[in-house]
C-alpha cells in the first residue's frame, strides 16, 4: 500500500514532508517523492492520508497502483 506524488502537479511546497508520520516523503530533484516501502497510507495514524489532506494542489498525492493495498497471499 502506498501513495505517490504526481510530479507534474507537485509545487514542491514541502507541506507533506512535515506531516508524514512515517518520514516516507523526501525531496528529490526539486519535487517530492514518497518511499513506497515506508508509506502506510497513514492507516493506524490518522483517518486520512496526511499528504493528501495537506497538499494545496488537488490530485497530486494519489494511490500508487503499483502497490495495491491488499495482495492475495
Amino acid at each position: 500500500m502506498a501513495y505517490r506524488i504526481v510530479s507534474s502537479q507537485c509545487t514542491s511546497c514541502s507541506a507533506c514532508e512535515a506531516e508524514c508520520p512515517n518520514e516516507a516523503i523526501s525531496e528529490k530533484g526539486g519535487t517530492f517523492i514518497i518511499d513506497p516501502a515506508k508509506c502506510t497510507e497513514c492507516i493506524g495514524h490518522f483517518d486520512t492520508p496526511q499528504c493528501v489532506a495537506v497538499c494545496p494542489v488537488d490530485e497530486t498525492c494519489v494511490v500508487d497502483k503499483n502497490y495495491p493495498r491488499y495482495q492475495a497471499p
Binding site: T11, S12, C13, A15, F46, A53, V54, P56
Partner: protein
C-alpha cells in the same frame, strides 16, 4: 464567535476606550501623533509608515513554501518569471541561504531596514525554517528588523516564539469575521491532521486569527491586518472586519484589491470574480479610516521582493549570485547612510509644512486627485514614459494626502503593445486632474490634456507634497478667478497584471 460579534456590536468607532492608546497610529501618522515607543518601531519601516516607504527598503526571503490553508485568490501552481504578486517567488531558500542573502542585500542597499518572511506559503506552517532564519539573521545583522506575515491559523501556537526572537511586526491576513463569508473565500484548511472544509473551516480560522491577534497585542507586538477586497463577497463585510481587528489592538489595516486575472489560474480568476475599481477601493478605505488608520501604499509585492516598495531588485540577488558574493557587512556605513536619509526626510517634512502654511485661510471644498511619477525619496523624479506606477495624492485645503498608487506596467509583455501604453496610463489615473513628472514629451502631454489630465513638469526633482500643495493653491486661484472651471473626474481601473521585475524589461 458570539464574543466576536458582541465586541463588534459594542465597538464605538475610533475612540481609545479599550485603553490600547493606539488609535492615533497609522500609515500617515508622523512623529507627533504617536507614542514614542511606537514611533520608534515604525518610523523606518517601509510597510508600516507611508513616509518611510519613500526612503527605506525591505526584503522578503522565501524560506516558507508550505501552506496550511487554501485561498480562492491563490494559485500555488503558477509561477511566471514576469509575474510579481503575493505568493510568487522564483526560488526557495534554505535558512542558511536566506541569512546570506540578507547580508548581501543589506551590504548593497544600505537603506534596507526590514526583513520579512511572507511565504510563498505560510511562515507559521513552516515554523522550523522561519524561526531558524530569524535566529541566524539576529546573530549576523542585529540592526535589521524582523517581521512576518501569516494567515493566522497556526499563530496562537507560535506567539511566544515570535516574542522570543524580537519579531516586532506581524501581519495577519484577515478577510472575514463571519464564517459564512469565509466559506466563500477559503475552500479548506488543514487543522489537527484533517482537511476541514466550508463554514466549519472558516469558523476555526477566524477564531484562531482573533485569538492570535489578541495574544500579540497583549505582548506589545505591533500588528497589521491585511484584507483582500473581493466585490460581492466581502467588500461590505470588511467594515465589520475593520471594527473587529481595531477593537483587538491591530495597529494598521491594509485593504488590498483582489488580483484575479483568468491567466493566474486562481479559483476567483477562473470564475470571473472581478476586482474592485480604484474608486471602490478608495471609498472602502475612506469609510474605514474614521475607525482606524489605513495603509494605502501596499504594492502587493512578491514573497521574494527586494528593495524599495514599487521597485523589485530580486533579480540582482539570485542564489547563484549571492553565493558567489563576498559579503562585507559594515554596520557603521549603514548607520551613516541612514543618518543622511534622515536629514533628507526632515528637509522634506519642513518644506511641506512651509508650503502648507501658505494654504492656511484658503476656503474651498474642492478635493482633487493627482498622480506623481517618482523613483522614491519623496521627489518628483521619474520620466512619464519610464514610470511603472504613479503615486496618487488627494489635494484639499488641508494639504496633500497620499491615497494610493496605480501600476501601469505592461503585463507579461503580452496583450498590450506600445500604442496602448498611454491608454493604459490614462485608464489607471483617469480619476486624477494632473500628473506630476520630471519630464514628458509633447505628444503624451497633448494626449493627456485631451483626456482632461494636465501634465505638470515644472516641479521636476522637487519634493512631492510641497509641489502638489503649491500647484493646488494655483489651481484654486484659477478656479476663483474664473480662468478654469472645476469639474469632477471619472473612475479609474486597477491594473490586474504584474509588476515586471527588472527595469530593463519594462522599457
Amino acid at each position: 464567535m458570539d464574543a466576536v460579534m458582541q465586541q463588534v456590536a459594542e465597538h464605538k468607532g475610533c475612540g481609545t476606550s479599550g485603553g490600547s492608546g493606539k488609535a492615533s497610529c497609522g500609515s500617515g501618522a508622523g512623529e507627533n501623533d504617536l507614542p514614542p515607543e511606537i514611533w520608534d518601531k515604525v518610523k523606518n519601516h517601509p510597510c508600516y509608515s507611508e513616509e518611510a516607504h519613500h526612503h527605506y527598503a525591505r526584503m522578503h526571503v522565501a524560506v516558507a513554501p508550505a501552506c496550511n490553508i487554501q485561498c480562492n485568490y491563490c494559485n500555488r501552481k503558477y509561477d511566471c518569471a514576469n509575474e510579481s504578486r503575493p505568493g510568487v517567488v522564483s526560488e526557495k531558500l534554505s535558512p542558511e541561504q536566506a541569512a546570506k542573502k540578507v547580508l548581501a542585500v543589506a551590504s548593497t542597499i544600505p537603506q534596507m531596514t526590514v526583513l520579512g518572511i511572507a511565504g510563498p506559503g505560510d511562515p507559521l506552517a513552516n515554523p522550523a525554517k522561519t524561526f531558524k532564519t530569524f535566529e541566524l539573521i539576529s546573530k549576523t545583522a542585529p540592526d535589521i528588523k524582523l517581521c512576518l506575515s501569516t494567515n493566522g491559523l497556526a499563530l496562537p501556537d507560535h506567539v511566544d516564539t515570535i516574542a522570543k526572537y524580537n519579531v516586532d511586526h506581524v501581519t495577519i491576513t484577515i478577510n472575514m469575521v463571519d464564517p459564512e463569508v469565509g466559506a466563500k473565500i477559503y475552500p479548506w484548511i488543514f487543522w489537527k491532521h484533517k482537511r476541514v472544509e466550508g463554514i466549519e473551516a472558516a469558523r476555526i480560522l477566524t477564531e484562531r486569527q482573533m485569538q492570535g491577534l489578541e495574544m500579540l497585542t497583549e505582548r506589545g507586538i505591533l500588528c497589521k491586518v491585511n484584507s483582500v477586497m473581493i466585490p460581492g463577497v466581502n467588500d461590505k463585510h470588511l467594515v465589520e472586519v475593520n471594527k473587529a481587528v481595531k477593537s483587538r489592538g491591530a495597529f494598521l489595516h491594509n485593504i488590498m484589491p483582489l488580483i484575479s486575472a483568468p491567466e493566474h489560474g486562481t479559483v476567483f480568476g477562473l470564475t470571473g470574480q472581478r476586482g474592485p475599481s480604484a474608486q471602490e477601493l478608495k471609498a472602502l478605505q475612506d469609510s474605514c479610516e474614521g475607525e482606524m488608520n489605513m495603509m494605502r501604499h501596499c504594492r502587493q509585492c512578491r514573497a521574494d521582493a527586494v528593495g524599495l516598495l514599487g521597485e523589485d531588485r530580486s533579480e540582482e540577488f539570485t542564489t547563484d549570485k549571492i553565493m558567489a558574493m563576498e559579503v562585507n557587512y559594515d554596520l557603521e556605513s549603514r548607520k551613516a547612510y541612514q543618518a543622511a536619509v534622515e536629514l533628507e526626510r526632515v528637509a522634506k517634512v519642513e518644506a511641506k509644512k512651509e508650503e502648507l502654511e501658505t494654504l492656511a485661510g484658503v476656503a474651498s471644498d474642492i478635493k482633487i486627485l493627482t498622480a506623481v511619477a517618482t523613483k522614491g525619496s519623496g521627489l518628483i523624479n521619474e520620466h512619464f514614459g519610464h514610470a511603472k506606477e504613479f503615486q496618487i495624492y488627494e489635494l484639499s485645503t488641508s494639504g496633500a494626502k497620499f491615497v494610493g498608487h496605480r501600476r501601469v506596467d505592461l503585463y507579461c509583455q503580452g496583450g498590450f503593445g506600445d500604442e496602448d501604453s498611454l491608454e493604459t496610463v490614462i485608464r489607471a489615473i483617469n480619476d486624477c486632474h494632473a500628473v506630476f513628472v520630471a519630464k514628458i514629451g509633447g505628444c503624451p502631454k497633448g494626449d493627456l490634456a485631451k483626456a482632461g489630465i494636465e501634465a505638470v513638469d515644472e516641479y521636476a526633482h522637487e519634493f512631492i507634497e510641497k509641489s502638489a500643495i503649491a500647484w493646488f493653491k494655483a489651481y484654486l486661484e484659477k478656479v476663483k478667478s474664473g480662468e478654469i472651471v472645476h469639474e469632477e473626474r471619472g473612475d479609474a481601473v486597477i491594473r490586474q497584471g504584474a509588476l515586471i521585475a527588472t527595469a530593463a524589461a519594462a522599457e
